[in-house]
C-alpha cells in the first residue's frame, strides 16, 4: 500500500532510489553535525581549556633545600649555589665542526658546479678551523675550572657512549615497529634521521663551578664571533649540598685507654664522613618510583595537566639516606613557576618556597668524637675497634674449633649510641665502619668483597638485629618482680642440671661452662652483678614465654620505633614459644633479637622507672605527639634491677667492672670519675656471618666469613645530684668477644668524650 503511494508520488524507480540516497546522505550529515556540535558546544569549554593550556609556556624557578642543624644549631647540611657547565651534544661529538664547515663550504662560489668529491674536499678544508676551535675549548675549560684534560676527555666519552646506547635502543624499537607495520626493512635514512632527545640537548661536562668561572664563560660567550663554540656552551644554575662537618679533626686522651693501648698524651684523629648515617646523603637523580609517586606534572582524569610544584622532575636530586631521606618532604622546597602566554604576555606566577630546616638531636662534635673512638679503618686510631688478643674471643663452639674466627688486628664492625634519658633524644649514633679503608679502591673486586662483609652503608644502630645476650637480664628482673613471681629477697640456685635433668649441657651457667664452678644461690641484684644464667633461666620460666614476649614488647623490642630515620627495622623481637625457649629468652639467647636503638630505648625506659617513650633523632619539627606510657613496672623491681646494674659496674665481682688483660691484674673498665654508673655487659652467641661471595670459578656462593660472639655493653650514667640516670650509652661489637672486654672500653671512651663535650 505504502509502496503504491510512493509510486504515485515518484513514478520512476530511479528517482525513488535517488531520493533514498539523498535522504541517507542527509541523515549521515545530521549525525556528523550532531557529533561536531557535541564536541564544540557540550564539551567545548573543557576541550578549549585543555587545548589552550599548551599555549602557555611555563618555566620553573629553582628553590633551596632546607638545612639540617644539630642540637646546638650547627649547620650539618645546606644548599650552596653553584653552576654546571653544559655543552651541546654536537660539540661533544665534533659533529658541530662538520656542520659549520658544510655551511661555510656551501657559500663557496664553486659549490654549485662542484661534484660530490670536490664538495667533500671543500668541506674538509673548512672543517680544520672548527676542529681547532673545539680543541681550544676543552683546553680553556680545563684551565678555567682547574679540571684535568684527561677528566674532561673521560667525561666527554662517557656522555657520548651513554647517548649512543640510548640511540641504539631507540633505533631498535623503531626498526621493530617498522617491520611490524610495513613487512619490510626500512632504509637507513628512515631510521637514522630520527633523533633521541639527548642528541639535541646540552650535557653537563663540568659540575659545581663557582662565580668566577661562570663570569669568565659568559664573557667568552659575549665576545665570541659567529659561529663560535662558545655559543653552544651553557652555564646553568644548580645547587650543591654541602656538609661542613663532614671531616673533623679530633683530639682524644690516650691515657684513659686500656693498658695495652694506653699512650701518654693525646691522639689526633681526622674523622671523615662524620654523622653520615644520621645526616644521610643526597642522590643526584631521583629514583623512578619517587618520580612516579610524586611527579611534577601529571594528567588528571579530565585530561588536563596539573602541576605539583613540590613534585619531582627528571634530574631532581632527592634524599638517599638518613635525615635527608626521612625528612625529604620537609626539607624539599617548593619550586616557583612563571608562565608566559602565546602572545608574550606574562601569565600567573608562583614564587618558590625554600625547604624548611630540620634540627637533629645529635651533637655533631660528640658524634665526631665517638666516630674517632670507633673508627676501625684508620691506622693510628684508638685500636678499640680492632680485634685484640685480650678480647676473649671464643676459639671453639660446642667443642669444635671455629673455622672463621676473627683474627687479632682485624677491623671490627659495631655500633654505639648515646641517648638522653629525659628527652629520649639521641646525642650520637655511630655505625662502624662507615667508609672503606684507603687501601681498598672503589671499583675492584676487593672493594666489593669488603663491602659485602663489612656492610659500611648500613646504619647498624637502627637497621641491624642482634641477639641481646645478657643485656636483657635487668629488664626481665624488673619484670619478674613487677609480676610478683619473685619475692624481694628470694634467692635462686645455680647448679648444673638443675633445670632439666635430661638436657644438662644446654641449661648451665656460663661460669660452670668456663670454670667448672657455679654460683652460690643469688638474689636478683647479685644475679645481675654476676650475670648468672641459671638465675635468669628460672626468671624466664617464671615469666613464661608469653610473659617474656609481653614485657620485652613493652620495652619496645621488636617494634618499629618512630625515631625519625626510615632505615630503622622492627626486628623479630621475642618470638619464642614453650618453657625451654622462655628460659633461653631469659638470658637473651634463642628466639629474641633487637637493634641497638631498641636496646637503648629499653634501658632508657628502665631508667625512667618504666615510663616508655620513643627515642628520636629529630628535634624539630616534632612529628606528632610524643607517646609516653607507663609499662607498670613495680618500683621495687626497678630498684632491684638498678641495684644489680650498679653492682655490675662498681663491685669487684661485677661483670662490667674490670678487664682481665693480665691474669691477676684486673683493671677497671670505667675510669671516669664524678658520675654514677649502672652497666651491664653481654656476650651473645651470634649466628655465623654468611655472605654471597664469588668462589674461585666466579660463582656466587654463600660463604661463612665470621664466627664468634657479639660483645655488648650498656651503661646508664647518672650525674652528681641527678635523681636518676641522665644518659644511656650502649655499644655492640660484632664477633668481638667478651662484652666487658671489647664493648666496655668503647663505652668508657664515649663517657670521656661526653665529659669533654660538657655533658658531665
Amino acid at each position: 500500500m505504502k509502496r503504491r503511494r510512493l509510486g504515485l508520488l515518484i513514478p520512476r524507480m530511479f528517482h525513488r532510489r535517488l531520493v533514498l540516497l539523498v535522504l541517507l546522505a542527509c541523515a549521515t550529515t545530521v549525525v556528523l553535525a550532531l557529533q561536531t556540535t557535541n564536541l564544540t558546544l557540550a564539551q567545548g569549554a573543557a576541550l578549549r581549556r585543555r587545548a589552550e593550556s599548551l599555549l602557555v609556556k611555563s618555566r620553573t624557578i629553582a628553590t633551596y633545600r632546607g638545612s639540617i642543624l644539630d642540637r646546638r644549631h650547627r649547620v650539618l647540611a645546606f644548599d650552596r649555589p653553584s653552576y654546571d657547565v653544559r655543552v651541546d651534544f654536537d660539540l661533544l661529538t665534533g659533529q658541530w665542526a662538520y656542520r659549520q664547515a658544510y655551511a661555510q663550504a656551501r657559500r663557496d662560489p664553486h659549490w654549485k658546479e662542484a661534484d660530490a668529491r670536490r664538495r667533500m674536499a671543500l668541506t674538509a678544508s673548512c672543517q680544520q678551523g672548527y676542529d681547532l676551535q673545539i680543541r681550544q675549548l676543552w683546553q680553556t675549560l680545563s684551565q678555567l675550572t682547574a679540571t684535568s684534560p684527561q677528566h674532561i676527555e673521560q667525561r666527554r666519552t662517557a656522555i657520548i657512549q651513554r647517548v649512543h646506547s640510548y640511540m641504539l635502543s631507540y633505533w631498535r624499537r623503531v626498526l621493530a615497529q617498522w617491520r611490524r607495520t610495513f613487512d619490510r626493512p626500512p632504509q637507513l635514512r628512515d631510521v637514522a634521521k630520527r633523533q633521541v632527545q639527548e642528541q639535541q640537548m646540552a650535557h653537563v661536562l663540568i659540575e659545581d663551578v663557582d662565580d668566577r668561572v661562570r663570569f669568565a664563560i659568559e664573557r667568552m660567550k659575549r665576545s665570541a664571533d659567529q659561529p663560535s663554540v662558545w655559543n653552544d656552551v651553557l652555564i646553568t644554575f644548580e645547587t650543591e649540598r654541602d656538609q661542613p662537618w663532614r671531616t673533623v679533626a679530633v683530639e682524644l686522651d690516650a691515657s684513659t685507654l686500656p693498658s695495652p693501648l694506653k699512650r701518654e698524651g693525646s691522639l689526633s684523629i681526622t674523622v671523615h664522613e662524620v654523622g653520615t648515617h644520621v645526616v644521610g646523603k643526597m642522590r643526584r637523580k631521583v629514583l623512578p618510583d619517587q618520580l612516579a609517586a610524586n611527579p611534577y606534572a601529571k594528567y588528571l582524569a579530565s585530561g588536563e595537566r596539573a602541576y605539583d610544584l613540590k613534585g619531582y622532575q627528571e634530574g631532581d636530586s632527592a634524599g638517599l639516606a638518613g635525615i635527608e631521606r626521612s625528612m625529604e618532604w620537609w626539607l624539599r622546597g617548593t619550586r616557583g613557576r612563571t608562565t608566559t602566554r602565546w602572545n608574550g604576555q606574562p601569565g600567573p606566577r608562583t614564587d618558590p618556597v625554600p625547604g624548611q630546616d630540620v634540627v637533629a638531636t645529635i651533637d655533631i662534635a660528640l658524634q665526631a668524637r665517638v666516630q674517632a673512638i670507633m673508627d676501625p679503618v684508620v691506622h693510628g686510631g684508638t685500636g678499640l675497634m680492632r680485634a685484640q688478643p685480650w678480647h676473649k674471643r671464643p676459639q671453639n663452639r660446642r667443642g669444635k674449633p671455629l673455622a672463621h674466627p676473627v683474627r687479632d688486628g682485624e677491623p671490627l664492625c659495631g655500633a654505639a649510641i648515646v641517648v638522653e634519658v629525659e628527652s629520649g633524644q639521641v646525642l650520637a649514633a655511630v655505625s662502624a665502619p662507615w667508609q672503606r679503608p684507603e687501601h681498598v679502591s672503589d671499583s675492584t673486586a676487593e672493594a666489593r668483597r669488603w663491602d659485602l662483609i663489612n656492610d659500611p652503608w648500613r646504619n647498624r644502630v637502627v637497621a641491624k638485629p642482634y641477639p641481646p645476650g645478657s643485656t636483657v637480664k635487668p629488664l626481665l628482673l624488673a619484670a619478674v618482680y613487677s609480676e610478683g613471681r619473685l619475692a624481694g629477697q628470694e634467692t635462686l640456685p645455680c647448679a648444673p642440671g638443675y633445670l632439666y635433668e635430661h638436657d644438662p649441657d644446654r641449661f648451665q651457667c656460663w661460669r660452670y661452662k668456663h670454670y667448672g664452678i657455679h654460683h652460690e644461690p643469688l638474689d636478683g641484684p647479685h644475679a645481675i652483678m654476676r650475670s648468672c644464667n641459671m638465675f635468669f633461666y628460672q626468671v624466664g620460666q617464671r615469666l613464661g614465654w608469653r610473659g617474656v614476649r609481653r614485657w620485652l614488647s613493652g620495652f619496645g623490642v621488636g617494634h618499629s620505633l618512630p625515631c625519625g630515620l626510615l632505615e630503622q627495622i622492627a626486628t623479630s623481637g621475642a618470638t619464642g614459644i614453650g618453657k625451654k625457649q622462655a628460659a633461653l629468652m631469659g638470658i637473651g639467647q634463642g628466639p629474641v633479637d633487637w637493634t641497638l636503638l631498641q636496646a637503648a630505648t629499653a634501658y632508657a625506659t628502665l631508667a625512667r622507672g618504666g615510663m616508655a617513650m620513643p627515642v628520636t633523632f629529630i628535634d624539630r619539627p616534632v612529628r606528632g605527639a610524643s607517646t609516653v606510657h607507663d609499662l607498670g613496672l613495680d618500683v621495687q623491681g626497678v630498684a632491684q634491677a638498678m641495684q644489680g646494674l650498679h653492682l655490675a659496674a662498681n663491685h669487684p665481682q661485677g661483670t662490667a667492672h674490670h678487664l682481665n688483660i693480665v691474669v691477676g691484674q684486673p683493671e677497671p673498665i670505667f675510669n671516669i670519675e664524678g658520675v654514677q654508673l649502672y652497666a651491664k655487659s653481654g656476650t651473645a652467641d651470634a649466628p655465623d656471618l654468611r655472605v654471597l661471595l664469588p668462589d674461585e670459578q666466579g660463582q656466587m656462593v654463600r660463604q661463612t666469613v665470621r664466627q664468634g660472639d657479639h660483645g655488648w655493653m650498656i651503661c646508664l650514667v647518672r650525674r652528681e645530684g641527678s635523681p636518676r640516670p641522665d644518659y644511656v650509652v650502649a655499644a655492640v661489637v660484632e664477633f668481638g668477644g667478651s662484652g666487658g672486654h671489647v664493648a666496655g672500653p668503647i663505652v668508657n671512651q664515649i663517657l670521656h668524650a661526653m665529659r669533654d663535650e660538657g655533658y658531665m
Partner: protein
C-alpha cells in the same frame, strides 16, 4: 548536437552551477585552511587549483559516448599504473616511498597518484558495464561488479592505502542502489559487511592472536584508540585525541587565523593539511565552519542527484551518482575520523585537503558530471533502471 549547443545546455543547468560553486567554495576554504598552518602548501594548492580548473575544462570537451567507450581502457590503464607501483625493483626515483606507502609515480614535475585516477576510472567503467544490464537484479549477478571492484581495491590495499581502498565498496553499493538492484540483496551484503567488521573488532579484544593474523598492529591500535581514547591519549590515540581537542576548542565561531595557527602548531597534530584538515577548519571557523563544509557537500550530493534525475542517459546517470557517492563517502569518512566516530584511516577531504592529484581528480569528477548531464539521450530512448520492484 553541436559543441556550442552542449556548452549552452551545461550553462543553463542550475544544478551544475550549484555543484561547481560548492566545489570551488570547498577548494577555497581548503586553501585558506592550509594557509593557516602552512602558507607554502597553500600556495602550491592554489597552483594545483588552477591546474585542476584547466583539467576540468578539458573534461568538459569529449562527448559522453567517447568517455564511455574509453572507460574500460581507462580502468585498464589505471590498473597497469597501480601494478607498476607494486613491482619490486622499480627505482625510488620513479616510485618513491612516502610514509611507508608506494602510492605515487614521480613524474619529476608532479607526483601522480594512480589511486585517484582509479576512482574516476572505476565509476566510469562500472557505469558503462551496468548501463543496459539487468543481471545485478539477481544475487549471483552482483558477483561480476564486485569482482571488477576488487581489482583496484586489491592493488591499492597492497600499497598500502586502506583509506582509499575503503571507498570503492560503498561507492559500488551506491551505484547498484541507483541502478535498481534489489534492496534486500544490498541490505544483506551491507549486513554481512557490518557483521564482519564487528567480528574483526571483537577479535582485537577477545581473541588477540586471531586479530594478529587479520590486522596489523597499527590497525588494531587504531580500533583500540577509538574505543578507549583517554587510556591511549598519549600513544595510540594521540592523533584522534588532539583532533578532538582542536575541534572542541573551536567552539561556535572558532579562533582567528593567527591564534588557530599557534594552537594547531603547539598540538603537533600529525598530517594537519591532509588527514586532519576538518579539525583545522573547525578550529579556525568553529562549528559554523564545520556546518558550512557539511552543507557544501550536501549541495554537491543534491546537485548531482538533480543532474542524474534530469538525465535520460543511463551511463550518465550512474556516473553522476557514482561520483556523488564517491565524494560524499570520502568526505563522511574523513569528518567521522576527525570527530572521533571512526578509527584513523588516513583519508583526505575531497576538494579541501592538500594534494594535487586529489584536487585535480575531484574537480575532474565535477566537470565530467556536468559534461555528461549536457548530453540529451538518443531519440527514441528506452527507459533505464525502471523496474517494478
Amino acid at each position: 548536437m553541436t559543441r556550442s549547443t552542449r556548452f549552452k545546455a551545461m550553462i543553463r543547468n542550475p544544478a551544475a552551477w550549484y555543484a561547481l560553486m560548492a566545489a570551488v567554495g570547498l577548494t577555497v576554504i581548503g586553501i585558506e585552511a592550509i594557509n593557516t598552518i602552512d602558507p607554502y602548501h597553500a600556495l602550491r594548492q592554489s597552483l594545483w587549483f588552477a591546474v585542476a580548473l584547466v583539467v576540468g575544462t578539458l573534461c568538459l570537451m569529449p562527448r559522453p559516448r567517447v568517455i564511455g567507450n574509453l572507460s574500460h581502457g581507462l580502468l585498464g590503464a589505471t590498473l597497469f599504473l597501480l601494478l607498476l607501483l607494486l613491482i619490486p625493483g622499480v627505482p625510488q626515483t620513479i616510485v618513491p616511498t612516502v610514509n611507508g606507502a608506494r602510492s605515487w609515480i614521480d613524474l619529476q614535475v608532479l607526483r601522480l597518484q594512480p589511486s585517484e585516477l582509479a576512482k574516476i576510472a572505476f565509476v566510469l567503467s562500472m557505469a558503462w558495464y551496468l548501463r543496459f544490464r539487468q543481471s545485478y537484479r539477481r544475487l549471483w549477478g552482483l558477483l561480476v561488479p564486485f569482482a571488477i571492484c576488487m581489482m583496484p581495491v586489491g592493488l591499492i590495499l597492497k600499497q598500502p592505502d586502506l583509506g582509499t581502498a575503503m571507498l570503492f565498496g560503498p561507492t559500488l553499493l551506491v551505484i547498484l542502489v541507483a541502478a535498481g538492484a534489489r534492496l534486500h540483496h544490498i541490505m544483506s551484503l551491507l549486513g554481512l559487511a557490518i557483521v564482519t567488521v564487528l567480528l574483526v573488532v571483537g577479535t582485537i579484544y577477545f581473541a588477540p592472536k586471531v586479530a594478529d593474523v587479520l590486522l596489523k598492529e597499527h590497525q588494531q591500535d587504531r580500533f583500540k584508540a577509538l574505543f578507549n581514547p583517554e587510556r591511549y591519549k598519549n600513544s595510540k590515540a594521540f592523533q584522534p585525541n588532539k583532533c578532538r581537542e582542536l575541534i572542541g576548542a573551536g567552539r561556535v565561531r572558532g579562533y582567528g587565523s593567527e591564534y588557530a595557527a599557534k594552537l594547531i602548531r603547539s598540538h603537533r597534530l600529525p598530517e594537519p593539511h591532509h588527514d586532519m584538515i576538518f579539525a583545522v577548519i573547525v578550529n579556525r571557523w568553529g562549528l559554523v565552519g564545520g556546518l558550512v563544509v557539511m552543507g557544501l557537500y550536501l549541495v554537491i550530493v543534491v546537485s548531482f542527484a538533480s543532474i542524474a534525475g534530469s538525465s535520460k542517459d543511463p551511463f550518465a546517470r550512474l556516473v553522476v551518482v557514482g561520483f556523488a557517492g564517491m565524494l560524499f563517502i570520502q568526505a563522511t569518512i574523513h569528518m567521522a575520523v576527525n570527530i572521533g566516530l571512526l578509527p584513523v584511516t588516513g583519508i583526505t577531504l575531497p576538494f579541501v585537503s592538500y594534494g594535487g592529484s586529489s584536487l585535480v581528480s575531484t574537480l575532474a569528477m565535477v566537470a565530467l558530471a556536468i559534461n555528461l548531464a549536457s548530453e540529451p539521450p538518443p531519440v527514441p530512448s528506452r527507459p533505464s533502471f525502471e523496474f517494478s520492484t
